[in-house]
Amino acid sequence: MTRKATRKTTNVELLNQLRDVLGGRRVSRGETDRINYGRDLWPRSLLEVRKGQVPHQPEMIVWPETTEEVSRVLRICNEMRVPVVPFGAGSGLCGAAQPMCGGVVLDAKRMARIERIVPETQMIVCQTGIIGAHLETELNRHGLTMGHFPGSFGTSTLGGYLATRSAGMAATGYGKIEDMLISMQVVLADGSVIRTRTAPRRATGPDFNHLFLGSEGSLGVITSATMRAHMLPEARVFRALSFKKMDAGLNAVRRMLRAGLRPVIARLSDEADTLTTLHALGVEAKDCVLLLVFEGRAVRIDLEMKKALAITRELGGRDFGEATAQRWYGRRNSEQYRQSPLMTDEKLLLDTVEVSTVWSNATHLYTAMRKALSKKVSVLGVMPHAYPEGCSLAFTIIGRAGRADDLAAYDAVWKLALDTAAQAGGAISHAYGIGRLKFDRLAQQNPAAVELLRGMKRRLDPNDILNPGKLAPCTEGAC
């Protein structure tokens, strides 16, 4: 039975009801909007659009402005059994915001109001449709920073960060988005609203923030959040170092963190990434380059940098100086732009596989991924984020489909990547989420967790209207 068959409504009834809530201008079923809400930035969708295809289009798009409006929209859709896909800025890289079953896309970006900034306690309360760059600009005006700078900073929202457990470029220092969240307001599928409490720490049973963090729009619509911010740093120091082997670089970063040092950025490139990404950005260094940035109080960060350099020397690292690292920092977002020219080649495949693991397994995971992937594609490896217990590893993969269909070739590379990551003991996602891309692998790797998720989904969204097919199999299985 297809989902459409379970529908209790026609499009016209739905349209009329949604218009009653939002007015005509904030509901669209125009063809151009349906096309542009038919994809996020999942590179597989890029391959499709390159061929002129946008296969999964919603029937309508709505732009609520308040929690109340979200609640009313969900009540209508729940009553009518119409899928609703929460949508931030569609920058997701796994197809999580793709409306696989059609239905209504609920774009959160008109919910972008900052409700309160409290510089004294470094907190901000705001609606979740706000774009990261706008949020940061406002915080900066109050002497604060969020410390969350994903590569998609100009085109992703707070709601998207929370719903995918995003990590910014400075996550080594400021943590991932889940470390910045204090409380949130969420609208459930039946339109009811729940709020978690704003308190520094709580011991009031399980933390429901974590139910919705990473829920990819499948358990509720996050409409507002209270976030922890940080004081704008007084100073920043930079260094480019290099190591002959990845292993030594990984070891250096581990030791820095164990010594209590907290660089905001510790980004380690393998040789291939140094020669392509870093050289293109004007970073004249060789081997495996570690870019270190400390920020905060000048006295503290100078001491931290001294200690970091001492560790580097002990491990045979080479110092390429401050200016080299500053050059990279000034152009650090440029690597996000390489996709467009490459994609004009109609056989080219491009994506980033990002995984994570504990330090004791980091070299093994890195080596296994590089070895497996290199058989099929060119690989640029990076360790973008580090934590006291381990790190993430990201592999930019660039290949050509050859005679094979590009979608089939893409799927084959990803299967290999995820199989290898799982076999080598890695988590199959560090920050980009699961979406459509990794769901099957997640279900295979951790059936118990998926079963639990399915149970929660059944409890919170019994009609399976919220982003069906994501994080739990679509109930009808026919989409």
């Binding site: 125009g30 063809e31 002129g52 732009w63 774009i131 732009y337």
Partner: protein, 368 residues
């Protein structure tokens, strides 16, 4: 028309839309279709034959203010406005332009300007006849928006010039009152070219042209030559003309300007003509309080919503964009907004009549 923009369209379709946060239209609407990425995707699909070139697609290309802020955040420096303007030209050729646009063009052609009034007559009643000299070498070109909406600024311009003992600047008689940019923005290239020819004849003797309108300055300087009409290459915005003279002490300042001001960089003056310092220099000469800056300023200034013909085709969107820009004006101490473009002034005044909006020249005039 769109073939020559193949690279722009493909790059825009495959891009990670990192300019999104800077696009005034995208920010005002929250709609993905109204981002450079969304519009380019549609044009790509049309090119692939996967989508019909229809009115809905064409309308999406009219939702760009041509502010060019997106280019600031594009490593490939893709210029979205050029593509949108070419698409509008195609829309006109295929009769798929918005209805408002078609009506606007009819109105313009009948009355030779977007206001429908006899602007030359208005100008004659505004200034003494001695200021009009068809043979003058240095000509002030007021532009239609200024004549219709800000006659006082025109008067102030000549008061300031007089106070500086500058008597060699004559006022253009405005018989062809408009530079034609409103036609250009709506995709009427033929009508624009015709207007350009007529204007070229009227201004052929001028050795120096000065205007208070950045769009006029850009059109006369760049777009007229593209339509085959070459005027003098000495075309200046009024602030460029005045700044060095005022710096030399030529302006007799009787009293400083004491109220708080925040300066808005017009897109066409700033990003298109690279004039950032001169308006600030002029204001700094006469103002007691330091000039406040928007958080988005100079090269990264944010649009007022008045460009790209948006007020004609999408007036609500234009208002929303202006209101976003005005949020900072309302913060902190009471202040007036000062700019150097009559279209920006108009956009702000229409969006919020509680804000006092001034031209740099108005501020100078209050100090002499």
């Amino acid at each position: 028309m769109l073939k020559k923009f193949h690279k722009e369209i493909e790059y825009g379709t495959y891009c990670p839309k990192l300019c999104r946060f800077a696009c005034p239209v995208a920010n005002a609407t929250g709609n993905e279709t109204q981002t450079p990425w969304g519009r380019m995707t549609l044009l790509h699909l049309v090119g692939e034959g996967a989508l019909n070139w229809n009115r809905e697609v064409s309308l999406s290309t009219y939702r760009c203010t041509t502010c060019m802020l997106c280019r600031e955040y594009c490593d490939h420096e893709i210029e979205v406005p050029a593509v949108m303007l070419a698409a509008r030209e195609k829309a006109v050729a295929d009769r798929m332009q918005p209805q408002e646009s078609a009506e606007f063009e009819r109105f313009f052609s009948e009355r030779h300007n977007p206001m429908g009034d006899d602007l030359a007559a208005r100008l004659r009643t505004l200034l003494p006849s001695s200021l009009f000299n068809p043979d003058a070498q240095v000509v002030y070109f007021p532009g239609c928006v200024m004549i219709y909406n800000y006659p006082q600024t025109i008067k102030n311009t000549f008061r300031v010039l007089e106070a500086m003992d500058i008597n060699y600047v004559a006022c253009y008689d405005a018989e062809v009152p408009c530079c034609g940019v409103p036609l250009h923005d709506q995709g009427y290239q033929e009508a624009f070219a015709k207007n350009a020819q007529e204007l070229g004849r009227k201004l052929s003797k001028a050795k120096v042209i000065i205007t208070g309108c950045p769009s006029c300055a850009y059109t006369l300087k760049v777009q007229l030559p593209q339509a085959g009409v070459q005027l003098t290459d000495r075309i200046y915005h009024m602030t460029e003309f005045l700044a060095p003279l005022v710096a030399e002490g030529k302006l007799p300042i009787r009293r400083p300007y004491t109220k708080r001001l925040i300066y808005h960089d017009p897109c066409y003056l700033g990003r298109y003509l690279h004039v950032f310092d001169q308006p600030r220099q002029l204001l700094n000469e006469v103002c007691r309080e330091p000039i406040e800056e928007f958080s988005w300023h100079r090269q990264k200034s944010y649009c007022c919503g008045g460009g790209g013909g948006i007020p004609v085709t999408n007036p609500v969107m234009a208002r929303d964009i202006a209101q976003k820009r005005l949020v900072e004006v309302h913060e902190g101490e009471k202040k007036s907004l000062v700019t150097a473009c009559p279209s920006c002034m108009r956009a702000f005044e229409k969006a919020d009549d509680s804000v006092e909006v001034l031209d740099v020249v108005d501020v100078l005039a209050r100090c002499i």
